[in-house]
């Protein structure tokens, strides 16, 4: 692992946590050593994305972005520059002349954030700055559709950038249109629940973590906002590598999913526990680890809390439910989730 820094330690990974009421499932734990608590549990966290932003109630992306950036800030001793693709995250955080970001942050076009971040990394290299690190971030639309060419190039050149995709499965701030990351059968403004196969198609779509793995970049991981310890560990681990890295974070969207804002964390947890959102890590194109499902639940428990899947649970669409169940089964086998 020649491209990994050796002097960055990852707290708690090797330490056995004895039973402390909630163990490491909650954000903090008064009985846990300080070093084993999350960044988010500390009063000193960076709050890279701060109060006053205009995300909807219960926004999973606002949460995921603060989680990831704060973890990266801790891992790099606050030396982070972020480039942000157009999308919800840019729109709700930075309506000119306000900004909710408390870190160096630049807004690119919708499709070129990976190229902008590559440029920042190149300029840092030219200046001989080896400590400041670069993050590119965007939603699934800007990543899997519009920005895909630039991102693939960034992977190909192995530029020293961590690309974080906040995947909520659609173009939400423009009115919930389908992206290539929209899950099968989901209702969007452009995939209405009509016909024999209502909602989004079962046959297309891009699972970008697998595409990133195919580029054999140093590090690829998936994370979920419900498991903060796992998410922070992956971001901190990503910062120990040099070269192109990719993390995709599953972020529920109450508006686009038709779910209760209060259920954002619960839905992200259920997505993982039913097998539809696999959490894993890969290095140099090879799967290295996966986060096990703690209590497996039926996919319909997850689907029924989301209005976008209401038609799937109707008697005439059991073929869709069966197909979604099969996806969960396949994920569990492919990514070794139980």
């Amino acid at each position: 692992m020649s491209n990994q820094d050796s002097n960055t330690d990852i707290p708690c990974e090797q330490q056995t946590v004895k039973f402390y009421q909630t163990g490491t499932f909650t954000v903090g734990n008064r009985l846990l050593d300080e070093g084993c608590r999350t960044v988010q549990a500390t009063a000193e966290r960076a709050n890279s994305l701060d109060s006053g932003h205009r995300a909807c109630q219960g926004c999973g992306q606002a949460l995921g972005a603060r989680y990831a950036l704060d973890a990266a800030m801790r891992a790099t001793d606050n030396k982070i520059i972020a480039a942000n693709a157009t999308g919800c995250l840019e729109v709700f955080t930075t309506p000119y002349p306000e900004t909710a970001w408390s870190i160096p942050w630049v807004h690119s076009l919708f499709g070129n954030v990976a190229a902008v971040a590559s440029g920042i990394a190149a300029s840092l290299k030219a200046k001989g700055d080896t400590t400041t690190r670069v993050i590119a971030q965007g939603g699934d639309g800007g990543t899997t559709d519009i920005g895909f060419g630039c991102l693939s190039g960034m992977f190909d050149r192995n530029d020293d950038v961590l690309y974080i995709c906040y995947d909520n499965g659609g173009y939400m701030n423009t009115g919930v249109q389908r992206s290539s990351a929209t899950p099968p059968a989901a209702r969007t403004a452009t995939t209405m629940p009509v016909g024999d196969n209502p909602g989004s198609s079962f046959t297309t779509g891009k699972f970008l973590p697998a595409i990133a793995m195919a580029h054999e970049i140093p590090y690829v991981a998936t994370a979920s906002v419900h498991d903060l310890h796992d998410l922070e560990r992956k971001v901190e681990k990503a910062m120990t590598f040099r070269g192109a890295r990719y993390i995709q974070i599953n972020v529920p969207c109450p508006l686009g999913w038709g779910s209760q804002p209060a259920l954002t964390i619960k839905l992200s947890r259920m997505g993982v526990e039913c097998g539809l959102v696999p959490l894993f890590e890969a290095e140099n194109g090879k799967l290295t680890d996966s986060t096990k499902i703690r209590y497996r639940i039926p996919v319909e428990d997850y689907l029924k809390l989301q209005r976008r899947f209401a038609h799937v649970l109707k008697p005439q669409n059991t073929h869709q439910l069966d197909a979604i169940r099969q996806i969960a089964e396949d994920n569990i086998k492919r990514y070794n989730l139980v």
């Binding site: 009421q21 163990g23 709050n47 701060d50 932003h53 109630q57 219960g58 903060l228 804002p261 964390i265």
Partner: protein, 548 residues
């Protein structure tokens, strides 16, 4: 005034999003609440169980002991003999198994004895209270009254203090050195206990001693007896007397084939005592089926383990010589419509016995009140009002002598309640119990967060070794297991600072105030999404509507 140079077509200053007070979006407001954990609600002594478990989790055992003994002065005793209704109510029971509250209580009680932690009496008030009976209710009341600063004298007819704790609960469940140590600790607060001192005339003693108030805690010491048909050729004994004689190491006739009649805990205590004293064949005859016996399941199980036979659905019809005739009973199919639950079948069988012990309940001895016509009895117990006062002004009653659940724990709770009522009464006030918080029910919690942690099992003495002595059956938890068990507590309804709300707020609208101080909402930015409420593991957040 300086002229601001703003970018083209922009009327606002460049600045932080902090200017944008998103709290105005909110229609529901989160608030931190303390809900009442079901263990605390169920505890007849009113212990703050969740509170002292929380301190025990932090290994702060003295603080845990101080908080526990605020309500119950006998942790080492109750850690052994309490039937722990708290565990039956424990929310963790809906996740895996209830927290072993009783075993942790015992551990904390042991810590108190090892470190010799002591109680402190309150500042002297100059008032004097006389208590009749040094059983659990009387001693509990004495303790609480002494903490209020009143002078307390306890009159006890027996040769030793403890009441049913000593004369009704066998040693194998409650070693006497533990009992004595915790009673001495109350005497050390300055409570005077006068032994061998039966009160014949309450009014006269009150007057001659200059007492301001009286509390009657005489218990229910008169065993119910039945006259059987036939010509009995064997002794028919009363369970309380058998247990008392055993305690005083006097001959008690429990030899040969012993039959105990009754399905309650006293019946099990007698059967288990008989086995330990070398009886050859011990049978317990219960009118009820196994599921409806009043004895606790673990008592019945331990009794059977030790070699006694429990015979269900039988009543004694007659006793002739050594022969006991039993009627075979059955559960009536009509019992839901108000008929008797268990009825006779008209079929009989006989068993042989050398001694028969009746353990079919006890009542207050009415002879005790022959000289006090103002103290009325009702259904064999002393009539009391909501503040435990009898029909005579200034005379209170608590424990088994008053209407109660008749357990040691409820006696302790009675003692506390009576002490509070007397304290208020001495001050010319009427005791008002504090209002209770909303119950922390399981549906208000998010159990996903609690680690998987199976319950610790206390060590038990082998059944073979139990049969030939009065050694204690149930053992102590060691320090690691006690800590583990305390940390299984889910802290229902009370914040334990897991940082979940602080961490998961998408708007960073919660301020962390530091260890022990909790959190506060920044309502300027809280959009009211309710994620903090939904993801609070213990249900210590509530969403309430905003006035709009």
């Amino acid at each position: 005034m300086t002229v601001q140079h703003k970018p083209f077509a922009i009327t606002l200053d460049v600045g932080s999003s902090h200017l944008n007070k998103t709290g105005s979006w909110r229609s529901m407001r989160p608030v931190y609440v303390d809900r009442l954990p079901p263990c605390n609600k169920t505890c007849p002594s009113g212990e703050d169980i969740q509170g002292w478990l929380s301190l025990a989790e932090e290994e702060n055992y003295e603080a845990a002991w101080r908080l526990l003994t605020r309500d119950n002065p006998f942790p080492a005793i109750m850690g052994r003999v309490c039937y722990h209704p708290c565990e039956g109510a424990c929310n963790r029971g809906q996740l895996d198994l209830p927290v072993g509250i009783n075993s942790v209580e015992r551990f904390i009680g042991e810590q108190g004895l090892i470190h010799n932690w002591q109680f402190e009496a309150g500042e002297d008030t100059g008032k004097k209270v006389m208590i009749i009976g040094a059983g659990p209710a009387g001693l509990s009341a004495a303790y609480h009254l002494r903490r209020f600063g009143h002078a307390v004298t306890v009159f006890e007819a027996a040769e030793k203090p403890g009441g049913m704790l000593r004369y009704g609960i066998p040693k194998y469940r409650l070693p006497r050195e533990k009992l004595n140590a915790e009673i001495y600790r109350i005497e050390d607060m300055g409570v005077e206990v006068k032994l061998n001192h039966k009160i014949e005339d309450i009014e006269a003693t009150k007057k001659s001693g200059g007492f301001d108030a009286v509390l009657i805690c005489v218990g229910a010491q008169k065993s119910n007896m039945i006259e059987f048909e036939g010509d009995a050729g064997i002794p028919i004994l009363d369970a309380l007397k058998v247990l008392r004689d055993t305690e005083l190491e006097q001959p008690n006739q429990l030899i040969g084939r012993v039959v105990v009649y009754g399905g309650g805990n006293s019946a099990m205590d007698v059967a288990r005592t008989a086995i330990r004293l070398g009886a050859q064949d011990v049978k317990v005859i219960s009118r009820e089926d196994p599921d409806n016996m009043t004895a606790h399941k673990f008592e019945i199980q331990e009794t059977i383990e030790e070699g006694a036979e429990v015979v269900n659905l039988r009543t004694i019809k007659s006793v002739n010589g050594h022969e006991i005739t039993l009627e075979i009973m059955k559960i009536s199919e009509q019992h839901h419509s108000g008929h008797l639950r268990v009825v006779g079948t008209g079929n009989y069988e006989t068993i042989e016995a050398d001694v028969l012990v009746l353990a079919i309940g006890q009542n207050v001895d009415p002879a005790l009140f022959s000289k006090t016509p103002d103290i009325e009895l009702d259904s064999h117990v002393i009539k009391v009002d909501a503040i435990m006062q009898t029909t005579q002004e200034g005379v209170f009653a608590a424990g088994d002598a008053a209407p109660s659940q008749r357990s040691v724990t409820s006696a302790l709770g009675h003692g506390k309640k009576a002490a509070r009522a007397i304290n208020a009464w001495l001050d010319g006030k009427v005791y008002q119990p504090a209002p209770q918080n909303e119950i922390a029910s399981f549906d208000k919690m998010e159990p996903w967060y609690y680690s998987d942690a199976p319950r610790t099992v206390q060590p038990h003495l082998d059944a073979v070794r139990r049969r030939n002595g009065f050694a204690e059956v149930v053992g102590d938890l060691d320090i690691e297991h006690a800590k583990y068990e305390a940390r299984r507590c889910m802290s229902c309804g009370n914040c334990f600072e897991c940082d979940n709300c602080y961490g998961i707020c998408p708007d960073n609208a919660i301020r962390k105030l530091g260890q022990g101080k909790g959190y506060e909402f920044k309502y300027d930015y809280c959009k009211g999404c309710g994620m903090c409420d939904a993801e609070c593991p213990c249900g210590a957040i509530n969403m309430i509507p905003e006035d709009i």
